[in-house]
């Protein structure tokens, strides 16, 4: 079979986008409200936990031996029990995609075009994502390569142009928050994006076999984490921890403060562009993973026929997922972490354990 393939480098770019997407706007605020001006410590802590999570995922991937998560479930646990595991995994991916889609809608209607109905924003964004998934993983990988320099340029521009507004005093005194507050803050970023990386176990079979693949995943997630660290510390330095936690989208407010020589103002849209690019890749990867996974779940050869029907469901799901922003914030604070831990950590842990036993049994019979 002529498997489509992307290079480890492209995969690394996808991982970077995946890490930054959606987290860049929604993560700083809850971290700052938990850990105050020590939020950056929380971020470092979550990057550390994220690193070990990624190493764990790489371990799972190694034992998958070229199979995808869903295929491996069936392989290890049999057609019925395996499908049950796959069902939970796919439901996680699908719900996550709907939430990510809703993030875009919420952001657009809060900050940029408040009178446009959510439905249309979701519809048009998802159409682009569906086209991306239709063209397949190779196109996604190549476009990641094209967009990466733009993202980095815009990001550097944001950082350099906001430098005059930074105030070191916003970070002092260091380690003022209790360790419980710092750990509370770090759970936000462990849940989004690191535990969500379990989705990449559906995509990684399409990466060309190379020793660099695991490196790509690890380094990509660390670079992405570095970006999130920068964006959090930038919000703290510019706005202070109080305003960072007060704002729905602090990074956007940071960009609003750019003022170069009195005439370069209103550049906040660059943060919106970074966010659009990164979240596009995150959503495309998630959507691709769910559609390919569902296709394998249903023994369908071509996942493309699923793209449109799944999209219809996703539009509806993204609209009914939560009634308002306050509900969503509570959901992220209380429900998301346990949900992500069970599906992003325990589920692959079971699978990995099963794979170990199965692989050993196979070796013995040979």
């Amino acid at each position: 079979m002529n498997q489509p393939a992307i290079s480890p480098r492209q995969f690394m770019f996808i991982v970077i986008f995946f890490t930054i997407g959606s987290s860049i706007l929604i993560v700083p605020s809850p971290i700052a409200s938990a850990a105050k001006h020590d939020a950056w410590v929380s971020v470092l802590l979550s990057i550390l936990v994220g690193a070990s999570l990624v190493l764990f995922y790489i371990l799972v991937w190694k034992s998958l031996k070229g199979k995808s998560f869903v295929q491996a479930c069936t392989f290890v646990f049999g057609a019925w029990l395996g499908r049950l595991f796959s069902f939970f995994y796919l439901a996680f991916l699908y719900i996550l995609s709907a939430l990510v889609l809703r993030n875009i809608g919420d952001f657009m209607t809060t900050q940029i075009i408040p009178e446009t109905p959510l439905t249309f924003i979701h519809l048009f964004f998802l159409l682009v994502v569906i086209v991306g998934c239709y063209l397949g993983v190779e196109s996604i990988g190549r476009s990641a390569e094209i967009f990466m320099p733009w993202m980095i340029l815009l990001f550097l521009f944001l950082i350099f142009s906001i430098t005059p507004q930074m105030n070191m005093d916003h970070l002092r005194p260091f380690f003022d928050s209790t360790s419980k507050e710092i750990i509370d803050g770090s759970t936000v970023m462990i849940g989004t994006p690191y535990l969500e990386m379990v989705a990449l176990l559906m995509v990684i079979p399409y990466v060309k076999e190379s020793p660099k693949t695991a490196h790509g995943w690890f380094i990509g997630s660390m670079i992405g984490g570095g970006f999130l660290f920068l964006i959090t510390i930038l919000s703290l330095l510019v706005l202070g921890s109080d305003l960072t936690s007060l704002n729905a989208y602090p990074t956007y407010n940071v960009a609003e403060k750019i003022n170069i020589a009195g005439f370069m103002e209103g550049l906040e849209i660059i943060i919106a562009i970074i966010w659009m690019i990164t979240i596009f890749f995150k959503l495309t990867v998630l959507y691709y993973a769910s559609s390919v996974g569902i296709a394998q779940f249903l023994n369908i050869d071509n996942h493309r026929i699923l793209l449109l029907p799944l999209g219809m469901g996703m539009i509806v799901l993204s609209l009914v997922a939560y009634p308002d922003m306050a509900y969503y914030e509570n959901f992220v604070a209380d429900t998301w972490l346990p949900y992500a831990v069970t599906h992003g950590f325990l589920l692959p842990l079971f699978l990995w354990g099963g794979l170990q036993i199965k692989n050993r049994a196979q070796k013995n019979t040979l």
């Binding site: 075009i113 005093d169 005194p173 007060l246």
Partner: protein, 398 residues
């Protein structure tokens, strides 16, 4: 029709349908661009807002007519948002808020507490946070925003430019943006200040075109001293000297003129080019003490003292006089804040938080009381670098 043409037609139609722009596109000629807003409360406790809107045909024209470049509209409402929308019964266009330059808060609202008004200003997505917030000192916001200004056609721009200019060359005023204001009001151990706006002259004259038809406009808008807040309520006004002292402590003075008297009864001025300040705190047992270190650097700007500035000793003498003068200015601001207003506008409480975080936990709740008597040690290091065009005093002796 062959297939390629059909494809082209279909894609063209899809593009036509999708690329028409935003959901609710608003053309420029449907928007009234608001540049300044005045907010106050009337006797019934309702918000009273005055909005200054640009008359585009007057601003962007080669041949100006006799109409004023801006119009103001005043209306009342239960909430600010309600009042802004209610404006549409008076204005021909929807008010567009993104180009806002200036918000003027009326004195009675400032005395009642400004936080409820700030909520809308910070929440609404149309505002960009780059406008300045000021307090109207001696006149109603309506009268202040109705004054037509010479030189700069749009009064809101004039005030904004004055604020920026005075901040960088005079050092007495403070331009405050909404996020700084909110975070200062909310943060413990720190209080907010705002710049004041003064109407100089007859109110009835200021809002006529005739006001700007004279070289010496009878009615003008001036920046005034700094308004001191306690929580979100106006506590009082610093004098000009105290405002300068305040800016010295917060390190906001970039350039200013410091004038000091000398033995022969004359005065001399030094042009400060740079000044930095650092505030630190330490605990003496149970009581905190604050030290403020101000470093300033400047040139001799005007020299009428009998000091031989040709000698290093003369320069030292001037340095000393300069240091003393700055210290007096700074002390006057500290005394005013501690005993007149009892409001920690310098953020000394935050300094205690930064340097003595464990003691701050107990001090935080009683900081208002502690601040009144907190000991402040002021150190000034001044350095005169150059003397301008002349190396000697220019006097009659020759």
């Amino acid at each position: 029709m062959n297939i390629p043409t059909m494809r082209a037609v279909v894609s063209a139609m899809i593009c036509l349908a999708m690329l028409t722009g935003c959901w609710n596109s608003r053309e420029l000629d449907e928007l009234g661009i608001a540049v300044a807003t005045g907010i106050d409360k009337n006797d019934q406790g309702e918000y009273l807002i005055t909005v200054q809107v640009i008359n585009p045909s007057e601003v962007a024209t080669e041949a100006p007519t006799t109409r004023p470049p801006v119009s103001t509209y005043t209306i009342t409402g239960e909430t600010l948002f309600e009042a802004f929308r209610k404006l549409s019964i008076k204005t021909p266009r929807k008010i567009y808020l993104s180009q806002m330059r200036l918000v003027v808060i009326g004195e009675s609202l400032a005395e009642d507490g400004i936080m409820p008004a700030l909520d809308f200003l910070y929440r609404d997505h149309e505002f960009r946070p780059s406008y300045y917030i000021t307090v109207a000192k001696n006149a109603s916001v309506e009268n202040i925003l109705s004054v037509l200004t010479p030189y700069e056609k749009i009064p809101a721009n004039k005030v904004m430019n004055s604020i920026e200019n005075a901040e960088s060359h005079w050092g007495v005023t403070t331009g405050v943006h909404i996020d700084t204001l909110i975070s200062k009001i909310r943060s413990p151990g720190e209080e907010a200040v705002l710049g004041g706006l003064l109407l100089n002259g007859e109110e009835d004259v200021g809002n006529r075109m005739s006001n700007v038809e004279q070289a010496d406009a009878p009615t003008t808008l001036e920046l005034d001293e700094t308004a001191v807040f306690k929580e979100d309520r106006l506590a009082g006004w610093l004098t000009e000297k105290q405002s300068l002292g305040f800016n010295f402590i917060t390190g906001e003075v970039s350039s200013t003129i410091v004038t000091h008297p000398c033995e022969n009864g004359e005065t001399s001025s030094v042009e400060l080019l740079r000044s930095t300040s650092s505030i630190s705190a330490e605990m003496d047992g149970d009581t905190p003490s604050i030290s403020v270190l101000i470093e300033a650097e400047g040139n001799i700007g005007e020299m009428n003292c009998d000091i031989s500035i040709g000698e290093p000793e003369g320069i030292d003498q001037i340095n000393l006089a300069l240091e003393e003068e700055i210290e007096t200015i700074v002390q006057s601001a500290i005394v005013a804040a501690q005993s007149d207003f009892e409001s920690d506008i310098f953020g000394f409480g935050q300094a205690v938080h930064r340097y003595e975080k464990n003691d701050w936990k107990t001090l935080e709740s009683e900081w208002d009381e502690v601040f009144k008597d907190v000991r402040v040690q002021v150190d000034v290091k001044a350095e005169v670098r150059s003397r301008g065009n002349s190396s000697r005093q220019i006097d009659k002796k020759g």
